[in-house]
């Protein structure tokens, strides 16, 4: 690998965020063409099945990552399969996503009456919810994941506990959604 490529590897190695080509070019003090060539050289050297590390082109630039084939070993060494107790906020967000099947952040905020960015981010990071397209208003929608079902011991979302205890009529998701939104608005109005 030539010196420019080595420097690219080192820069990506030390950066926890993807690095844009322009940033590489500025730090190296050379033109974009040379950087592109260097990146290409790195990409060829760090191809899957070669060194255990690969070059990824991601939004925002380039990043190094471990080769997917090594994941089981890395997981055995480092992954701490933690399932810490859910906070009230997390449980509420998760319940809304599970019972309504799909929900956007603004809807969750309206139902809960508070901004719910932080519990949603945690749930997403723990792999309990995931994005699933956009609503007709353009808001990102979320749904629960297969991992969620496993961690709650559910065969499907239909095996969620009945809500009859709380709301005998709310069988349909649409109806439930409206009730939740009404209750949320009343709470905020108080």
């Amino acid at each position: 690998m030539n010196p420019l490529a080595r420097q690219v590897v080192a820069m990506l190695f030390n950066s926890s965020q993807p690095v844009a080509e322009a940033e590489l070019s500025e730090a190296l003090g050379c033109g974009e063409t040379e950087v592109s060539q260097a990146v290409e050289e790195v990409e060829q050297a760090l191809v899957e099945g070669q060194l255990g590390i690969v070059l990824r082109r991601v939004a925002g630039g380039y990043a190094l990552a471990s080769d997917p084939e090594t994941e089981p070993a890395v997981r055995r060494l480092l992954a701490k399969p933690r399932t810490p107790p859910l906070s009230q906020a997390q449980a509420e967000c998760l319940a809304i996503a599970a019972y309504l099947r799909r929900v956007s952040r603004p809807e969750i905020a309206r139902i809960r009456g508070v901004n719910s960015e932080s519990p949603m981010a945690t749930l997403e990071e723990r792999g309990l919810i995931e994005e699933c397209g956009r609503s007709r208003f353009g808001a990102i929608q979320y749904r629960t994941t297969p991992l969620f079902q496993k961690l709650f011991g559910l065969e499907s979302l239909d095996s969620l506990p009945e809500l009859s205890e709380f709301e005998p009529d709310a069988e349909e998701q649409q109806e439930l959604r409206e009730k939740l939104l009404r209750a949320g608005e009343q709470r905020v109005a108080q």
Binding site: N14, S15, S16, R126, L147, L151, F152, L163, E165, A183
Partner: protein, 258 residues
């Protein structure tokens, strides 16, 4: 001499002996420098009043009301070293016999301490060099990729009770009861009770003064009583008069309205 270790890169000292603030302004630096300076007569230890340092320290300790054992020990170690040094310097050679220490021995002991410090000072220099040589080796510090921070799907087992979801959604479906704020501002005076009290007076006494109505009551009760009187006046149950500002208020039942 200053017992304060002036550290350029460290945060403000917050506790312990650094707060002692003795400033003799003659010395600041490590042990062998102190010894050397004293021996070279750059600082005259005989002119450094160790008793004053001790007194200042004890006073400060008293003012603080608590003993930081660690800092106290550090102080004792240092003051003991200074006392030892000073006593040796003050005693002429012949009188050293009393201490069972030959001048030669005293010198050897001081020397040993100086050499000890010098070894660590050199080791510190070596550490500086080591660190400088290592500056080029950077270690990666990035969080684990998300897929490694969560449980693998195949390995996942049941960890949570589904009922917690039902409870959460159930809670959201209910409009919570009105927030009870009584603990925030406990109202101990009730207007109704004061109204009843005034009406009672109106019935039994027909006429009475405001002071009588609020005899022995606190300010809050007085205010609420005034409010009750206003309420009854508005309803035509009473009339009242005050002949001069801040003078007594006389209350009279209003026959017609009753």
């Amino acid at each position: 001499m200053s017992l304060v270790d002036h550290e350029q890169h460290s945060p403000e000292p917050t506790d312990g002996m650094t707060a002692l603030g003795i400033s003799l302004d003659v010395f600041e630096g490590p042990f062998d420098l102190l010894v050397t300076l004293i021996l070279n007569e750059d600082i005259d230890l005989l002119e450094v009043h160790l008793a004053e340092i001790v007194l200042t320290y004890v006073e400060r300790l008293e003012a603080r009301g608590e003993l930081d054992l660690e800092a106290a020990t550090e102080f004792l170690v240092l003051i003991a070293a200074l006392l030892e040094l000073k006593s040796r310097l003050m005693l002429p050679g012949e009188e050293m016999d009393g201490l069972d220490l030959e001048p030669q021995e005293a010198v050897e002991e001081l020397l040993a301490r100086m050499l000890d410090y010098r070894r660590y000072r050199s080791a510190a220099e070596a550490l500086h060099e080591l660190l400088a040589a290592e500056q080029g080796y950077r270690f990666r510090s990035a969080p684990l990729p998300p897929e490694l921070r969560r449980v693998a799907l195949d390995a996942a087992g049941k960890a949570y009770e589904p009922s917690l979801l039902a409870d959460a959604i159930g809670g959201l479906l209910r409009t919570p009861p009105k927030v009870d704020t009584s603990h925030l501002n406990r109202v101990t005076v009730s207007l109704e009770r004061r109204l009843a009290h005034v009406r009672e007076l109106l019935t039994t006494r027909r006429s009475f003064s405001f002071d009588e109505a609020v005899a022995g009551a606190d300010r809050m009760t007085q205010a609420v009583t005034l409010f009750a009187l206003l309420e009854l006046y508005k309803g035509g149950e009473l009339t009242w008069k005050q002949s001069e500002p801040f003078g007594p208020i006389q209350i009279q039942a209003q026959e017609a309205a009753r």
